[in-house]
């Protein structure tokens, strides 16, 4: 077993465990912290796949910006204690069974896929030079449209959050 495979298994186990802790924690602050752990391990997967640009962007955008926004909102609302009322146990069970059925169907459908290999720790398409060239040559119009999307999201957030 090579070092990349060991790293893959370790990162996968941490990813799944922290994702489970996100949905089982009672305290929303703990959920946010476990979600940050999940994002860091997913960034580790990106590094393992030699997609360094996406790994850094994932940390900066998700763990740096989005999760800080979540923490701000949670602390603004003072939700640090358990304010979630206890829900019907049967509803929780039904949700878990529905999700488990989806997992079963997807795994059964994709079990016999072609055994193609993916490339670990080699290749240079994920480097910022190649992605930047492709982004500003072939995808420059979607890039500019996404900046307009950001502007409209910013205006929308201010308009919604404004107190009348």
């Amino acid at each position: 077993m090579s070092i990349t495979e060991i790293l893959f298994w370790v990162l996968s186990i941490i990813t799944l465990f922290s994702a489970l802790m996100v949905i089982t924690s009672k305290n929303p602050v703990y959920s946010v912290l476990w979600l940050i752990v999940t994002f860091f391990t997913i960034s580790g997967h990106y590094v393992l796949l030699n997609a360094q640009f996406l790994a850094i962007v994932n940390i900066i955008v998700y763990a740096g910006a989005i999760m800080v926004l979540f923490l701000f909102v949670i602390m603004l609302m003072n939700l640090n204690k358990d304010t979630e009322p206890q829900k019907n146990k049967w509803l929780k069970l039904a949700g878990a069974v529905a999700g488990g059925s989806l997992l079963l169907v997807l795994v059964a459908a994709l079990r016999h896929t072609e055994k193609s290999m993916t490339e670990l720790a080699t290749g240079n398409i994920g480097l910022i030079q190649n992605l930047g060239k492709a982004l500003f040559n072939d995808y420059v119009v979607p890039f500019e449209i996404s900046s307009i999307l950001f502007l409209s999201a910013m205006v929308g957030a201010v308009v919604i959050g404004k107190r009348e």
Partner: protein, 109 residues
């Protein structure tokens, strides 16, 4: 590493996100589960892009970078979605003093 492992890992992450959306009531945690599902899809896109690159690197040295650019645009859309969604949640909390999604059933009446 076979692509199957990445497919199963992404399916597991996606299903965890779905179970969270179905079983939790806190609007913020539902939102975080949506982020989890988006990240599962991103991981699978990157794995497929590397698989495509390995298969077609002899023909085209930049094969597979479309997948990674798509992940980049998904992150852009997710950031915009989070800013508007959290503004809506703050508005909800200001009106009902709770983030329980069961209070959002006024359309039924």
């Amino acid at each position: 590493m076979p692509i199957n492992y990445y497919i199963f890992l992404s399916i597991a992450l996606f299903v965890i996100g779905i179970i969270g959306v179905l079983t939790r009531r806190n609007a913020i945690i539902i939102f975080m589960c949506i982020e989890l599902m988006l990240n599962a899809v991103n991981l699978l896109l990157v794995a497929f892009s590397k698989m495509h690159h390995l298969a077609n690197a002899a023909v085209n040295s930049a094969a597979g970078n479309e997948g990674q650019l798509f992940v980049f645009f998904i992150m852009v859309v997710a950031a915009a979605e989070v800013s508007v969604g959290l503004a809506i949640i703050v508005m909800l909390y200001r009106n009902t003093h709770s983030v329980d999604v069961n209070f959002l059933n006024r359309l039924k009446h």
